[in-house]
Amino acid sequence: MDRSSARIVLCECPGHHDTKKVHGIRGILAGHGIDCQCIRDFCSLEVFSRFVEEIKLKKYSALFIVGCGFELAGDYLGKTLKMESPGLDVTWENLGASSDDLEIAAKIIAWYNAVPISKSEVTEKKHFDKKVPRVLVIGGGVGGCQAALDLAEGGHEVVLVEKTLSLGGNMAKLDKTFPTLDCSICILGPRLVEVANHGNIELLTPAEVKVVRGSPGNYNVRVVVWPRFVDMTKCSGCGKCADVCPIVIPSEWNLGMKPVKAIHINFEQAVPLRSAITKEFCVECRLCERVCERDAVCLDDRPVEQELEVGAIVMATGAKPFSPVSYGAYGYGYIPAVITNMEFERLVCATGPTGGRLITPEGAPARTIAFIQCVGSRNERFNRYCSGYCCTASIKEAILALEHEAYGHITVFYNDIRTAGKGFEELYQRAIEKGVRFIKGIPSRIEEDPYTKQPIIHYYDMNEGKRGKLPVDLAVLAVGLVPDESGIDWELSTGPEVDEHGFYKEREKTLHSLKSNLEGVFFLGTCHGPRDITQTVGEASGVAAEVQSFLNEKEF
């Protein structure tokens, strides 16, 4: 059989690849009468350019390269090969410690036997589909919005699917952001408006992706747009309906801390600023229907399914705060003055449940406040990983608390203070200067004082080497971030892989940290591990570039 158009390369980098293994593979192949070539420093400019010349000259049509695999070298060198020799079929195999030489040799032999013999067969096998230039972004948090904007400004059509009623994700709920203590919604709001108004962005809320089919560059996606029971195109967000609605329910957006009506707008700066009805609670009195000047209310709204063709998919589905209910020792859920840091953010926010007054559930001013770090993080029982944002977030919140209560007493109980980011250490120092007390030692439990209803924190101060009890007005749990379910049915051979914690798994930790194992499926932000806003926004732009360079690659 003549398979002269096929070529096998084994890379034998000294100091990186195990030479014994490489030679073992060569021996096995030789036993099967298959030729291969061992090359040193294959990826270096000098060797690789010579190799490219040779390929062009000899007109190879299929290559099997054993070395660092696709993850390290393949993505970069593969692009060069495709550019220099269009139509070339390249397979990359990792020689890494895990796979043994017999296994790799077997793969090569199978591949070799499947290589088509004649040239005509080769061209038939290849398909030159065009990639759809449209991109689907799933999740409308700060990361998803930034990616959508950068893609749209780069000239691509974008469909942005957000599960909840409005854009902004977790950042929209924050009062201020570290390290500059900028008002969160003030900086985010305009960006969200920009997304909603951009000519290249189609926004679907509240909506979810149900099914993904197809192939890289040509994904077929089914999206369901959930009913709001208010016509988006007619509603002006005037809020008259909420005035007349007789049903009061807890605002989910405000973490159940603020009452709203059954028909309501999530918050004053919501984008899109449209009412919606929480149908479970609606008694269909139709008062809203009568009062609405624009005939926007439609109580028999139904879910609508849409089919979309997209070239690439960006997952920006974020993460959710860890629920400390299972953390029994801190009494969250039955001691009212034990709250989470997200609840604290709502509490100090001017648009929050108390109008920005920092008070205990009893209504008294909260003067002594304790923050407890690493709740649900860095803990074998819950999550082993560090959530990264919570140290700096608590320091920020401690400073905010002092701005509300100038003579407050703030204590932070911690493991390590991890303020590693631009301007973060400076913020930590500022908190120390302002008198925030930092105690090394994570408290063992919190009990409620039966008379004053104050939480009493039991702790062990590792620096002083002694136990202590601290009664406080508010105990704030700095909870970590945990992965969220996307609910997508990947009707492909496999969906995007997740790691042991449930976050999306990077194709390669350093070089391809925004790519999934599926070609054409990318991710960014907290859905592949906890991170702060700056990193999320940087990654969003990064994804925008990688998606565009993927779509620009003609052949695949």
Partner: protein, 721 residues
């Protein structure tokens, strides 16, 4: 004073201003009596109505303005809210969508410059807010509609720095189809990835990470690679830069639409630093030095990782016990060290100490303060190090002494305050990152600012981490602040996306803030042509005139207004910040109690931003200050100063960026500095006290300095009375 020219651009028709006073949640409303400001504003001339709003910048706020434009027929909008540096574009876009010229909107900064700095003086803050609104209204009454300029885009990017972030940026841009020029000062590409040995995130040799990148970028037909080269000069503006690059052989001018800065960082040098006297002792290494030592040891074993054997020092002796010291050069106060945390050194130590313990059987102890590892897989690496036998101790290093061939270490255990003594064979200093040596030079060439820590300053720490204050210049990698390889690569891609937003367009729209010259009043003195930092004013011959007339090349004008600052007749003027509008603001600002006031002209980029920063940091200063924003201190014409004193101003201040290099417009600040003594003399001649006129340099991060300056001026003012 020179005779005023006749202006061709008359503000159109009847002025109808709508005023919106923002609560900004509690940010403004908790200090300023918003209702009173609204009341006051509604009575100002030209104002049709005034309203308050919880958040003007939110969608309903913007929608309300748009509705008022069509329903109430307002044709100018004043938003009294936060800093225009934050939201001017937001409102410009909003009124544009509502059908108005975007320059018919003005912001009165009653948050950063008022409620946030006068929070203990509610009454005076409210008074000041009213006056700031009145000044804005006065400016609006004199506003012109400005037209956007269209400029073509050169389809090429220049990437400065060939480390992983620069390589990644160049790689993605080339794949998106754009020509790229990559400039590297060293003779080879790869940066620190070539110097160091192994990556902590995936345990792979760094060479294997970077080599394929270098090859792919070098072989891409769209890239042009210039090694041993430096960027010497930059001309032009977004979409149309001209970058002068030089190496030993040649000097090239590359035309480019945008620039990506990826110049990385340097290791903190502990030797010779008074804080680390022991750094020069024998057998004290830095982490990058240990990296080479480990590499050498491995290479001697021919790459076999798992065979055990002891670690040999460069002199061949065996190393059994090793101590690491964390935060070397980082998290310290004082001049010799940095305050910031370098973010990656904890991980470097974890990686190296694990290798020493696992593969070389060393006993390792790490003295640290906090172990800072933040990625989802990093905590596991930390635990693995502990399992491998590395001992982590929260301790402060006391003394380190040479003791024969070994080192004697005394440390104070922070946990339970014990004294620790160790004898080790080798000590490793986990050194932090410092801004690259060339940053300073490059900053002057590119005119982009540094933050307090010496790294390049991003235009917003949260939402614009990759952009700089110069449109069309982006940042990638550790030149913006400490980052590991993964983060540098991600930001490399990110910067490429930002570049794509420009390069994918045929032409860009630039704002209409440019200089214009009134030929009637131009006397052909040529001062403006000489002072223009960009050299975009030419003198053209005109028939029957000896001296010719000045003419602005509008597409290249940056709108700094230095020409208008020096023009003796007022022929040169800047649209958007023209003379009448500034004079009107001066008059209003000094209408009441002029003698008790400080009137300041602050440049948009540094000192206005510095005042904003004072606001963000809630640094209080006396409410006697009234700020007029100009694009550059060079815009300030002596007529403004004279006018202010004529109206009885207590103090007059001009504040700009630090000379020589900080000026956003190359040399506008220097232009004003030259005029400063002459203006003083003139004031003296006219009988005003020249000491009441001050020139100061305030950078965007000097909030505290700004506070101090205003406090001093105010106390001088009080004492003088």
């Amino acid at each position: 004073m020179a005779k005023r020219k006749k202006r061709k651009l008359e503000p159109p028709g009847e002025v109808k201003i709508g005023v919106y006073v923002c609560h900004c949640g509690h940010n403004i409303a908790s200090v300023v009596d918003v209702e009173r400001v609204r009341e006051y504003a509604s009575r100002l001339p030209g104002v049709v109505f005034a309203r308050t709003n919880m958040f003007c910048c939110a969608e309903p706020g913007q929608a309300e303005i748009q509705e008022d434009i069509s329903r109430e027929g307002i044709n100018r909008v004043l938003v009294a809210a936060c800093s225009p540096r934050l939201h001017e574009t937001t409102f410009r876009n909003a009124v544009k969508a509502g059908g108005l010229n975007p320059h018919f909107v003005e912001m009165a900064n009653i948050r950063e410059h008022c409620s946030w700095v006068h929070w203990q003086e509610r009454e005076r803050a409210t008074e000041k807010a009213c006056e700031l609104v009145a000044m804005g209204v006065a400016k609006l009454r004199n506003a012109f509609p400005l037209e956007d300029r269209r400029v073509p885009v050169t389809r090429r990017a220049v990437v400065i720095g060939g480390g992983v972030s620069g390589l990644k940026a160049a790689f993605e841009l080339a794949n998106m189809g754009h020509p790229v020029t990559l400039v590297e000062k060293e003779s080879q590409l790869g940066g620190k990835a070539v110097e160091l040995w192994q990556n902590f995130d995936n345990g792979q040799p760094l060479r294997c990470l970077v080599e394929p990148m270098i090859t792919a970028v070098s072989l891409n037909p769209r890239t042009r690679i210039l090694t041993s080269s430096k960027v010497l000069n930059l001309k032009g503006f977004i979409g149309n830069f001209e970058v002068e690059i030089r190496n030993e052989k040649q000097s090239i001018v590359e035309k480019a639409g945008c620039i990506i800065v990826a110049t990385g960082y340097d290791f903190f040098p502990p030797r010779g630093n008074p804080r680390y006297p022991y750094a020069s002792l024998k057998r004290v290494l830095t982490t990058p030095e240990l990296e080479s030592l480990i590499r050498d040891n491995f290479e001697q074993r021919d790459g076999a990782y798992n065979e055990s054997g002891s670690l040999r020092y460069s002199d061949g002796s065996k190393i059994k016990t090793v101590a690491f010291a964390q935060c070397v050069g980082s998290r310290e106060s004082g001049d010799s060290c940095n305050r910031y945390c370098s973010r990656v050194c904890c991980l470097v130590t974890i990686k190296q100490s694990t290798i020493l313990a696992k593969h070389f059987g060393c006993n390792v102890v790490v003295f640290h303060r906090d172990i800072r590892v933040l990625q989802k897989w990093h905590e596991d690496m930390y635990q693995e190090a502990r399992r491998a036998g590395v001992v982590f101790i929260r301790a402060q290093l006391g003394d380190v002494r040479q003791d024969g061939d070994s080192l004697f270490i005394i440390a104070k255990n922070e946990v339970e305050n014990g004294r620790l003594e160790y004898h080790v064979d080798m000590m490793v200093l986990s050194v932090g990152m410092v801004p690259a040596r060339d940053s300073l030079e490059l900053k002057d060439v590119l005119k982009i600012p540094l933050s307090d820590d010496g790294f390049f300053l991003e235009s917003h720490p949260k939402l614009h981490p990759l952009e700089t204050s110069m449109d069309g210049i982006f940042l990638a990698g550790a030149c913006q602040g400490p980052k590991d390889f993964r983060e540098s690569i991600v930001t490399g891609s990110g910067a490429a996306a930002k570049a794509q937003c420009i390069l994918s367009k045929e032409e860009l729209l630039l704002d209409g803030l440019v200089a214009s010259i009134d030929t009637e009043t131009c006397i052909g003195c040529g001062l403006c042509a000489r002072e223009c930092p960009y050299g975009v004013i030419e003198m053209v011959k005109v028939e029957e005139e000896v001296k010719g007339k000045a003419r602005v090349i509008t597409a290249a004008c940056k709108g700094c207004g230095v020409c208008a600052g020096v023009c003796p007749t007022g022929a040169a003027d800047t649209l958007g910040f023209h003379e009448e509008s500034i004079m009107a603001q001066i008059e209003v600002a000094l209408e009441k109690n002029a003698g008790e006031k400080i009137l300041a002209f602050c440049c948009n980029w540094c000192s206005y931003a510095g005042a904003d920063f004072a606001g963000v940091s809630r640094l209080e200063y006396p409410p006697s200050l009234r700020i007029i924003r100009v694009m550059c201190s060079g815009r300030v014409n002596e007529r403004f100063i004279l006018k202010a004193f004529e109206l009885g101003a207590g103090r007059v201040l001009v504040a700009g960026c630090h000379p020589p290099g900080d000026c956003h417009y190359i040399s506008g600040n220097i232009s004003f500095k030259k005029r400063y003594p002459k203006i003083k003399k003139k004031l003296e001649k006219k009988g005003y006290n020249p000491d009441h006129f001050t020139l100061a340099w305030i950078s965007a991060t000097e909030g505290p300095q700004f506070q101090k300056l205003i406090q001093e001026l105010d106390s001088g003012l009080r004492k003088g009375k």
